[in-house]
Amino acid sequence: MPIDESKIVDAVVQMNPHGNEEGIIDSFGVYLTNHYADYYNKISYRFESAVEEFDTSSLDFLRSLLVMSGHVCGYNTFGGIKKSDAWKGLIAPMCTSKEDEIRGLTAVLNALGWGVWEVKSVSKDKLVIRSKNTYESEGYLKTYGANRKVAGCFLAQGVAISFMNIVYSNAPITENLSENEFEGKETKCRSKGDSYCEFVVTRKGVKKSLFSF
């Protein structure tokens, strides 16, 4: 059967994930917490500004660290979700292909309130995924406006890459972005003035001439 996103969202709401006395949400086989998105946004973008002020040559490295943070998050959260009984009971029966698994992970991400994401296309070597309201771009636009020269949804980029590593890797995967089979970039960003954010994830080593960014 095809992925039924509304059924997945309804099921997540029904499970009512909420924190215990320690603030830990134990759901879907992983430990989560509620956090203020704008707090995360502020520390990320202020960190970026501080580095830009003192050492512009380190900016690319800093941004790669923020993307890696997203990958660690995605690897643990969605990797754990995919192994959970909740996945096996609700989403796995809907999946007839790995492409469906990517759509299933995307539905869970939407249900958890990370924005509204949509898979534009997916194959074993490439994913194109979009969002009209990543929480990073929402926070950046609110604080700074659409003035970025470089795309700024670092955590979202890392999570998008983690999806492909989790579903399509041919070898065991790790938290470490550089050790895995997929890489990605944010090709459109609302913080730059685009109307949506778009992430393109590709398998390393596949000829770039096959794809256009």
């Binding site: 059924k7 309804d10 099921a11 029904q14 499970m15 134990d26 086989g29 430990y31 959970s84 009984d85 909740a86 096996k88 009971g89 609700l90 029966p93 809907m94």
Partner: protein, 99 residues
């Protein structure tokens, strides 16, 4: 329900240093098994799932998930559980499953 012959317990530790066990048995989780679990606390069965999910979170004792029809349960015994609780749970589970 089908009779269980034996069960096998696998042990692993998660990052919160709680002991996690996956019990495998030769029988399957069914409504009677759910009734047995209710003797330990509240059981929630998500029946809208394609394969109903069974979930328990017994404060200070354990967290458990399984699926209807499964022949394993995934259980975390919490650090706050009395040390004797785990062996008492084992004993009750054993006695329920072996007829």
């Amino acid at each position: 329900m089908a009779k269980k012959i034996l069960f096998r317990k696998l042990r692993s530790k998660d990052c919160f240093r709680q002991c996690r066990y996956i019990y495998d048995f030769e029988t399957k989780v069914d409504e009677e098994f759910v009734k047995f679990l209710e003797s330990f606390g509240q059981v929630i069965v998500y029946r809208d799932f394609t394969i109903p999910l069974v979930r328990m979170d017994v404060e200070r004792k354990f967290r458990l998930t399984t699926l209807m029809g499964s022949n394993s349960i995934d259980i975390f015994f919490k650090e706050t559980a009395p040390k004797s609780f785990e062996s008492s749970f084992d004993k009750k589970l054993n006695s329920f499953l072996i007829h």
